[in-house]
Amino acid sequence: MNGVHDMGGMHGFGPVEYERDEPVFHEPWEGRVYALTRAMGAWRKWNIDASRHSRELIPPAEYLRMSYYEKWHAGLIRLLIEHGLVTQAELDSGKPAGGSRKATPALSIEQAAAFTARSSFSRDVPATPRFAAGQRVRARNLHPTGHIRLPRYARGKLGTVDRDHGVFVFPDTNAHFQGENPQRLYSVRFAARELWGEQASPRDTVYIDMWNDYLEPA
């Protein structure tokens, strides 16, 4: 979706605001939202792409007004309701619906402590590389209303394949529970001038990770 989350190249947001000795969480509720999001993710009712998309669906004016963990909170509420883990009535009353059975948490203390446990987003399935390092490619001019990880600023632009990362889950389908659709993922190098015109430095480059379906031969 062409949302306000796709910020690369926008003007008007002002200087970067830097905070010295910044705490990990500024207030306790931020940590709780972070942990709740991870603990509820352990139910595997959704995936990382759906989780990102839940925050992209926040209306643009709200998205810009909200703090970071406020957005996580809004995204979590949306996912909880959409996937039937809580009802709006339960959120309104703060109490579980009468007669509902108590579950056993999906994320145990032991699992929470095993922070080195890794999930993988690459898939061991055959997918013949369509492009090789050094090959010229064009980013397709895609504007789906759903989730996409091809930034607007790169669409239609010419780049060069820098490397082949292997086969990865495709977020555009995975976010909508339409399958993982694993496919080749490439690092593509764009000249800053191709993206931004003559105002950019002739030397500078931007590298973007792009799935096979985002690219066409140039």
């Binding site: 003007h11 947001f13 207030e27 509720w29 948490p105 929470a112 590298y207």
Partner: protein, 211 residues
């Protein structure tokens, strides 16, 4: 770049529980009562990212790469495997790539679409990294952003910006600073800042002014 500690920004945080704090508390109580989450597991997650996983991990990686040529080779060839040697793996660090700064190349990492960041080596990202100014400008005006961080680069240096659009997570291997020749690995790691591993600053012997 503006220093938030000089502005009114800090005073926006009120002493009384905000509406949001109350709503989060209510949500947590509901999820606990439904048996969907274990509060102790939440505490463990928070403690992990407040106290155990953070940029000191990344700094140890950088220092090792500076003193151990073979490790550096492995780190640049297969970062995920090399990081696992030091015990750094986990959520948002499953597929790592380390990019090396040289006198001719300066790397800068951003996530224009959200907030992708290599958690196992840097911890959770600071607010500025997730903010609209950084996300919007890092790709179109990287030199301007770098200048705000006090990093001036000459025109003969290539700035490479890495937009983290997939599940690859990027860590910048900064240049070892001049004057650090006699330092050991531990002393070197103390010089390495989070900002240098995102690519907004260089590592200097005099750390004052950098994080």
């Amino acid at each position: 770049m503006a220093d938030a500690s000089d502005s009114d920004h800090e005073h926006e945080h009120l002493a009384v529980p905000s509406d949001l704090a109350l709503r989060v508390k209510a949500l947590e109580s509901l999820l606990v009562e439904k048996g969907l989450v274990d509060q102790a597991a939440l505490d463990v997650l928070i403690d992990t990212y407040e106290h155990k996983v953070g940029p000191r991990n990344g700094a140890r990686v950088v220092a090792r790469a500076w003193v151990d040529r073979e490790f550096k080779k492995r780190l640049l060839a297969d970062a995920s495997a090399a990081l696992e040697e030091l015990g750094y793996s986990g959520a948002q660090g499953e597929h790592m790539l380390v990019v090396e700064n040289t006198p001719r190349i300066h790397n800068l990492v951003v996530c224009t679409l959200c907030s992708c960041y290599p958690w196992p080596v840097l911890g959770l990202p600071p607010v500025w990294y997730k903010s609209a100014p950084y996300r919007s400008r890092a790709v179109i005006d990287p030199r301007g952003v770098l200048r705000e961080f006090g990093t001036e680069l000459t025109e003969d240096v290539e700035v490479r910006v890495w937009d983290s659009t997939a599940e690859l997570r990027y860590l910048v291997l900064p240049e070892r600073p001049a004057g650090s020749e006699n330092m050991n690995e531990e002393e070197l790691s103390a010089l390495v800042t989070r900002d240098a591993m995102v690519g907004v600053r260089k590592v200097t012997i005099d750390k004052a002014g950098g994080r």
